[in-house]
Amino acid sequence: MSLLMKLAWRSLWRHKRRTIITIFSIAFSLGLAVFFISFAEGVYAELIDDAVRMQAGHLTIENKDYRQASSIDLLVENLSELRSEIKQIKGVKSTKAIIMGQGVAKSGRGAVGVAISGVEPKVEQSTSPLAKKIVAGRYLRAGDSNAVIIGKNLAQRLKLENTRELKKLHALLAPLFSPLLQDEELMDDLLRIRLSIGKKLVVTTNDVNGQMVEELVRVKGIFVTGAVQIDGYLIQVPIDFARHLVGMKDDQATQLGILLDPDTDRQEVISSISAVIANEPDARSIVVKKWEEVMPDLAAYIKIDGGSNYIFQGILIFLVMFTIFNTILMSVLERRREFGMLMAIGTPYQKIERQVILETIFIAAWGVLLGLVFGGLGGYAMQVNGLDLRQFYPEGFTVSGIAFDMIVHAKVEIPTLAVIGSTVFGATILLCLYPMGRIKRIPVADVIR
């Protein structure tokens, strides 16, 4: 070990308590930052994943005017050829055709404005989280016609259940299950949902020519996502039925959603898709959009929430930096005599500087290492086991119409750890610059007496 290293190392451990407190201050703040940032990254990743799977993918091909006025006649044509070409692009996992429209759902006892989503049941079953949110009945199947799945809230608003049937079941089940189902409302809820399955609805909307059309559909399943906007407003029908309803051809849809493989260079895929689109007959009217453009509310939420999270962690680290700064400054100031003596016997100033930097590096390296281990392990445990938020949010939690999965998982990523760790390490090293400057100003002749 060189003399400077020896000096730095031993000087640190001369004040064990101070050194340990400083190392743990760095480790604690960094660990917290790593944990919360990993946690936020995990929540955002899940939220984005759910949203893109449920809606129109990581990338969406649609008419360039669709976002200004989401009209059913703003189409993507030549769908099958477009899909087969896009599937060849590296990083594209799957594609999904969607028809989105507005309409009214009518039952015998009510009418509610709805968003009609025509989807490919087979594709959605493997990609969309909605398929896993069915609480009664089943999800759509390929070959289903005049079938619909609706949210629990919508079913309640349309009062689909037969009142007589409901009363009969209540009377039958109450004596049997009331000791178990103490909450009568809950039992009522379950019965109403169950009794909505198989009931008929009339869906009214406009077709591509602007004419009003309507069709009778049968409820196949009820879903609960926890998002009021979805559970009370969205209905899903098979895409073939949707085409038939609005008068679209087989090769048409309002959107073509594209799901990407993890860690795909999105910009590269966009460039490749743009090249494919350029060869299409309707090249001028269709564009490829990122999910942030398709779901701007969600993107804005993540940006704001993520930003405030980073600011909070930044403030925490900044405050701890003051402790570290104070420690280094105190360590330099109380050793004025030692440094003065070193300068008196001819030690070059740069060597003393190097000693202080080495001491800071030791502290920073230990603090950062421990912080990354603590925060990383905490985050990893949360990544594997998840955190159940249901006790904190029994009603669920939605963002921009997307329901949070109430069991959230952190996402620990090496690049994130590297960035946070090196930022704290670098900041700690920078903090020693001022105390180092103070060494230069030591009045050597005075302090060595």
């Binding site: 003399l3 020896k6 000096l7 031993r10 000087s11 001369r14 005599r337 030692e338 003596m341 070193l342 300068m343 008196a344 016997i345 001819g346 030690t347 070059p348 100033y349 060597k351 050597v444 002749a445 060595i448 007496r449």
Partner: protein, 233 residues
């Protein structure tokens, strides 16, 4: 020229405006190689200021100082630092050893800074520690040594690189009279053996007696300059 130190009309003032302290007032003197000189005088007479001026730790307000033939008043901070490292050894009143280094490492420090190879360093350090009577105590830290032993380490550190000049600011002020006598014996022997030039400040008459030459300062001026016997007369 045989002078290792030469001062010419050196003034040192502290403070500004109306509150100016004249620490040195036109001091001129020469110290020859191999001399063992004591600078005596009451507190505030300018002893420490004189040593600081010679070592380049402080700059004179006016006048010139030559050390080993070099005009220190024209030197930069780093040049002065280099001069101290290569040509001057220091012994301080309060020992000023590095508390985290052993006796061996403290003595080795200057050689390391000068880039002396490891094997040569080891021979020199072991020889000097033996010479100052610290054989077997190489691995002890300063806190494990007595005041006298610590000052011996400081002396070893000051002379291990065989500097042209050893400056000692009241080197025996913090030790008892018996230890002080032993330290002075040691410095006198080293002065004889190695021809090292010693310049130390003191206000202890017993210490003054051991010097070959005595310079007495008062109010920043030389009051007397010669041998103690001569001054006694």
């Amino acid at each position: 020229m045989n002078a290792i130190v030469k001062l010419q009309d050196v003034h040192k003032d502290y403070g500004q405006g109306d509150v100016v302290v004249h620490a040195l007032r036109g001091l001129s003197l020469e110290i020859d190689k191999g001399e063992m000189t004591a600078v005596a005088g009451p507190s505030g007479s300018g002893k420490s200021t004189l040593l600081n001026m010679i070592s380049g730790l402080d700059k004179p307000t006016s006048g010139s100082i030559w050390v080993d033939g070099k005009d220190t008043s024209k030197m930069s901070r780093s040049q002065l630092s280099k001069l101290r490292l290569e040509r001057i050894g220091f012994v301080f009143q309060a020992y000023n050893l590095l508390p985290v280094l052993t006796a061996y490492e403290n003595a080795e420090y200057v050689l390391l800074m000068r880039g002396v190879p490891a094997s040569e360093r080891r021979d020199k350090v072991m020889a000097i520690l033996k010479r100052v009577g610290l054989e077997g105590m190489e691995k002890r830290f300063p806190r494990e040594l007595s005041g006298g032993q610590q000052q011996r380490v400081a002396i070893a550190r000051a002379i291990v690189s065989q500097p042209a000049l050893v400056l000692a600011d009241e080197p025996t002020a913090n030790v008892d009279s018996k230890t002080a006598a032993a330290l002075l014996d040691l410095m006198a022997e080293l002065n004889e053996e190695k021809g090292s030039t010693f310049l130390f400040s003191t206000h202890d008459r017993a210490v003054m007696k051991r010097a070959k030459r005595l310079i007495v300062l008062k109010d920043g001026q030389i009051l007397e300059n010669g041998s103690l016997e001569h001054l006694d007369e």
